[in-house]
């Protein structure tokens, strides 16, 4: 979810209306965006729709708002520039695609420059997957020589002066010395040749997606004419990114000119502002929205969202429309349906209560667990709720036991790195946190634990466990056994105990809990070493059972 920084003044001047911040915020809802925070004239806008990169710049937001408030919007045209970019085959397995455009007559101010650079970065970072899929570049067109530019792989020993530097260096040196080289150099690691744009004079214009040359790549407020390019590994995405970038510059008053991209077998022309034809049935729209909209109503609603209506005969169940080039997110008719709903206004839709009568039902598991909880509460135990992620230290080291549990590969903290395979360690930690709270302390938790299970499809076995503990200065085994046996009596389950050794409990005061000849848990008096590990000063007695085995 990208966040962009815009100047509110700039936005209002692009929209051509003196909007209030409140009006603007309301309009942003149509764009699935909101003002995150404000610093004077600066607004930070977060854009929910990761599928609408056309909105990740102030120019794109302004364009949609003009449309929504009924102001005319620009028609995007690109006359031929006469420039050809020849793509060399030697980049086939490295960074094979390029798309370019020329933008003339743009008046660049510091604000505009900042906004252009921000958009270039957002497109490359989010849409372009940190420049790996798509990266973009901007050049001073007046410094580019000739009508033919080559896009080809050059040797690492080729020399140029990178942006922000004064001395010539090889590409290998640049990757080490240039800040962008350090940041993005990995994308080209181990390649035999590096992608480069080269003009007629043989000068390297840039090494995409790392950096431009200092000569042509420096864009200032004095620059009037721009050469822009996108390169990457996905042809559609490369062209789309260039289209969007050119569109933003056109919104700034630039005249866009197209460039021929010559591949081995074919030649394409970029940017491509052509809309896509699409047909949709009004009856389909009605199935999803239930608003009973007529064709003229639909036409109006669709136009507001910048669709061009090609054909919409009242009475016929077909509307043919054109999807603007910048709407790559329209994958299915449902996407158009949503635009109709947004255009209509979600809050103008009258909600209906579903008229489906079905019997409600809790899971058996929930009913059973609720019964257990009720009995435990009746025995004056307080219910607690712990996280299911914890540390190895709590699960094993502090409990004096060995073992392994499911572990996340990308933890944010070692305190939340392991999935609990038992409740007792977390309840012990609970006691540690509450060692100064009045005794006796009697608590229980009922919840899921996950055990590793190599044979399962997800290598895990999930169980519902119940853990009860009692702690005070004279807590005894008998006391916790009473709780266990009273619970079992009320559940009509016969239970037996059998001595076992368990490293968390005192030897000889610990038993396996047997139900139907199966061990379903453990009961006992916690070992003083474990108490010491949790900094506890009072004896603790406890049991833990797998309650799924009780039914």
């Amino acid at each position: 979810m990208p966040t962009i920084e815009i100047s509110f003044k700039d936005l209002k001047s692009l929209v051509g209306k003196n909007l209030s911040l409140k009006e603007f915020s309301q309009l942003l809802e149509y764009l699935k965006a909101e003002v995150d925070r404000r610093e004077g004239d600066k607004l930070f806008i977060s854009l929910e729709d990761t599928n609408r990169p056309d909105l990740w710049c102030v120019e794109g937001i302004a364009r949609m708002i003009r449309k929504l408030i009924g102001k005319p919007t620009k028609k995007y045209l690109a006359k031929p520039s006469g420039l050809t970019v020849v793509v060399n085959q030697n980049l086939r397995n490295i960074r094979p695609y390029a798309a370019c455009a020329v933008v003339k007559g743009i008046k660049i101010t510091d604000d505009i420059l900042e906004s252009i650079i921000q958009y270039q970065e957002k497109l490359a970072e989010n849409y372009g997957r940190k420049r790996s899929k798509v990266g973009l570049g901007v050049y001073d067109f007046d410094k580019v020589k000739g009508r033919i530019i080559e896009y080809k792989g050059v040797k690492p020993t080729a020399k140029f002066i990178p942006l922000g530097f004064e001395e010539e260096m090889t590409i290998s040196e640049m990757l080490k010395k240039h800040p962008k080289g350090e940041q993005y150099g990995k994308l080209l690691e181990g390649k035999k040749v590096y992608p480069a744009f080269i003009d007629k004079s043989g000068e390297i214009l840039s090494i995409p997606p790392i950096t431009n040359s200092n000569n042509t790549g420096k864009v200032t407020t004095k620059t009037r004419n721009l050469f822009i390019e996108a390169t990457g590994t996905d042809r559609d995405a490369v062209v789309h990114a260039l289209n969007l970038f050119a569109m933003a510059l056109a919104e700034r008053g630039g005249k866009v000119y197209s460039v021929r991209i010559k591949y081995n077998a074919e030649t394409i022309v970029t940017p491509n502002f052509k809309p896509t034809k699409f047909s949709i049935k009004p009856s389909y729209i009605d199935t999803l929205l239930g608003l009973g909209l007529t064709t003229p109503e639909l036409k109006k609603l669709l136009k507001k969202m910048d669709y061009n209506i090609v054909k919409a005969t009242p009475g016929s169940d077909l509307i043919v429309l054109e999807i603007p080039f910048y709407r790559k997110d329209i994958m299915h008719a449902v996407d158009v349906v949503e635009d109709v709903a947004i255009s209509y206004g979600y809050n103008n839709i009258e909600p209906l209560e579903p008229e489906i009568a079905t019997p409600g039902k809790l899971l058996d598991e929930t009913k059973q667990n609720n019964l257990i909880r009720e009995i435990m509460i009746g025995m004056q135990l307080q219910e607690v709720l712990n996280f299911t992620l914890t540390s190895k230290d709590v699960l094993f080291d502090k409990m004096n036991r060995n073992g392994k549990t499911l572990e996340v590969l990308n933890p944010i903290s070692s305190n939340y790195s392991n999935v609990r395979d038992s409740l007792l360690p977390l309840v012990m930690k609970f006691l540690e946190t509450n060692k100064t709270v009045e005794f006796p302390q009697k608590v229980f938790e009922l919840g899921p634990v996950v055990l590793p299970d190599k044979k399962s499809y997800n290598k895990a076995k999930q169980e519902n466990h119940l853990c009860a503990v009692i702690s005070h200065s004279r807590a005894t085994f008998t006391e916790i056994k009473s709780v266990l046996e009273t619970l079992m009596k009320h559940l009509e389950v016969k239970v037996k105990l059998r001595h076992i050794k368990h490293p968390s409990f005192i030897d000889g005061r610990c038993g396996e809990i047997i139900v139907n000849r199966k061990a379903i848990g453990v009961i006992g008096e916690i070992h003083p070493q474990v108490l010491e590990n949790f900094n506890l000063e009072n004896p603790v007695v406890a049991f833990e059972i797998n309650v799924d085995e009780l039914w």
Binding site: M1, E29, T50, N51, N126, R129, D236, T287, L288, L289, M331, H332, V334, D335, V337, E338, A341, I342, Y346, N347, I349, P351, E353, P354, I356, T358, P359, G360, L362, E365, T366, I377, G378, Q380, L381, Q382, E383, V384, N386, F387, T388, L389, L406, V408, L409, N410, I412, S413, Y416, V419, F430, N434, P440, Q441, P448, Y457, N458, K459, A460, Q462
Partner: protein
């Protein structure tokens, strides 16, 4: 003014003792005079103190008593004395002396050192001789002997006669006597106590009504001691549901009454269910709508779902038969097998749609734990709960979805006003965010919803519209009970759990 009738007989006995033997008695004296047991006197003193009738002064004093060594000395005299007496009639060798004076090794060693230093003995030709000074010493009295009979039981320092006190440190050093600190409690009457004192008398009133009295009728004709019913009673810590879990129970009950059936799914999921079946592209910013905890890359087994996996691949790549363009990228089946911790309960809704028991029309819900690698602070947790629901049926439209959301906002969230805002989720279209207006808090988002995309439902063989939503149930709870910090809900604070009052709810 205290009500004399409410005094217990134990209290009365203490007061009477103070009246008869004078104010300012120690606890031990009162105990003896009033003929009370240790437990009785302690109880009576606590009660009287509580009623403000007496004051208790505490003073720490040292007590002394003979040790085991001391007992022997008391019987046979000090080792030095025995040493000197043994050689009174002439010098002796070491062995003979030890035997004659009945000294053990320690006694002998400490005595010989001390006596030599003081010049009371001398050693010549391997024999020990009494000196002139030693002879004189034997004529003088031994203060220690006088002390011994006093020290048979614990005695306070100021109970020891002044002229004997100087030997106490010496005896303590030699291990003949031991010392311990003792608290002396002295009882004084307060003004209030003095006022009622003349009226206090022992009465034949019933304190505790016993089964015996009921059986033998001995209570008849007697009166009952009046209790001080305003005296504090100890608190009871009751067994209670965890506050948030109780709220979850209530929400479930409401959903049941609305005709929803509860469903469940595993915490440890495969990316296939969590992402791919939800049309979340594998390599696209949309996948980053939230981050995911991984357990094992590509480790899961999807052999049961071969056909569905193949269909899903096609849907992602070019839309398959759904009428969609798809995402237009190369789908990697291995990524579907990633074992992860589920990041939303929509994974459970997908499993419900896949289930053999699915009924159309149908209403289903689930409440469960989900995981996101987020740094924990007051409004972020790395694991939290979600409420997810679906309704499938021929007639389900966006209007019904808004109807359900509005109902939930009012029923569960206690919202007065509701607002629908366009939202984005890769798996629903149209998508909507539910915002509610809370008194004093303004607008807040409590969930997201939409109609499942055909790219989601058609591969599962479902041809009716499915309206789906996810609500932040934790946030609903926090709003209802005015809890600011999300961590509080999973709080390990027993005090908070014990003090929690259901009445605190906002509505």
């Amino acid at each position: 003014m205290i009500d004399i009738d409410s005094l217990h007989n134990l209290e009365r006995k203490v007061l009477i003792a103070l009246r008869e033997f004078g104010d300012g008695l120690t606890l031990n004296v009162i105990k003896e005079r009033a003929n009370l047991s240790e437990g009785e006197i302690n109880k009576a003193i606590e009660w009287l103190k509580g009623k403000g009738l007496i004051k208790v002064d505490e003073d720490v004093k040292q007590k002394f008593k003979l040790t085991e060594i001391g007992e022997k000395c008391a019987k046979e005299g000090m080792p030095e004395k025995r040493f000197l007496l043994a050689i009174k009639d002439g010098p002796l060798g070491f062995k003979e002396l030890i035997q004659k004076a009945n000294l053990d090794k320690d006694e002998f060693n400490s005595a010989i050192g001390f006596l030599k230093e003081e010049g009371l003995i001398k050693i010549e030709d391997g024999k020990i001789h009494l000196t002139e000074l030693g002879n004189k010493r034997l004529q003088m009295p031994w203060k220690e002997d006088k002390l011994f009979h006093l020290l048979k039981d614990w005695i306070y320092f100021d109970e020891i006669p002044i002229f004997l006190r100087e030997v106490v440190p010496f005896l303590e050093d030699r291990g003949i006597i031991e010392k311990k600190d003792s608290v002396i409690r002295t009882i004084y009457l307060t003004e209030e106590g003095k006022k009622i004192l003349p009226k206090v008398r022992i009465e034949d009133k019933i304190d505790l009504l016993t089964p015996k009295m009921i059986l033998d009728g001995s209570w008849k004709g007697k009166s009952f001691r009046k209790y001080d019913i305003s005296a504090p009673a100890p608190p009871i810590y009751i067994g209670k549901k965890q506050p948030y879990l109780k709220f979850v129970d209530e929400v479930k009950e409401k959903l049941i009454s609305l005709g929803f059936q509860e469903t469940k799914g595993p915490l440890v999921e495969l990316a296939f269910f969590n992402n791919d079946l939800l049309f979340m592209p594998q390599d696209h910013p949309a996948r980053e709508i939230h981050d995911i905890y991984f357990i094992e890359r590509g480790g899961g087994d999807l052999s049961r779902y071969k056909q569905l996996l193949e269909k899903t691949k096609k849907v992602h790549e070019y839309g398959w038969e759904t009428g969609s363009t798809g995402w237009g990228y190369k789908f990697d089946k291995n990524k579907s097998k990633d074992i992860i911790l589920r990041s939303h309960t929509t994974a459970v809704s997908i499993r419900t749609l896949l289930s053999k028991d699915l009924k159309i029309p149908g209403k289903y819900f689930t409440i469960g734990r989900v995981y996101r690698p987020d740094v924990i602070d007051w409004k972020h947790l790395t694991e939290f709960d979600q409420l997810d629901g679906i309704i499938l049926g021929d007639q389900m439209t966006f209007r019904e979805l808004l109807g359900v959301l509005k109902k939930f906002a009012i029923e569960f969230g206690g919202a007065k006003k509701v607002k629908f805002v366009p939202g984005y989720f890769p798996f629903t279209e149209p998508s909507v965010e539910l915002h509610v207006y809370m008194e004093g808090k303004g607008w807040m988002e409590i969930g997201g919803a939409g109609i499942f995309r055909p790219e989601v439902t058609l591969p599962l063989g479902i041809e009716v519209p499915v309206i789906a939503w996810g609500l932040g149930i934790l946030r609903l709870f926090m709003t209802k009970y005015n809890i600011k910090d999300m961590r509080q809900v999973f709080s390990n604070d027993l005090k908070w759990l014990r003090e929690f009052r259901w009445k605190n709810a906002n509505n």
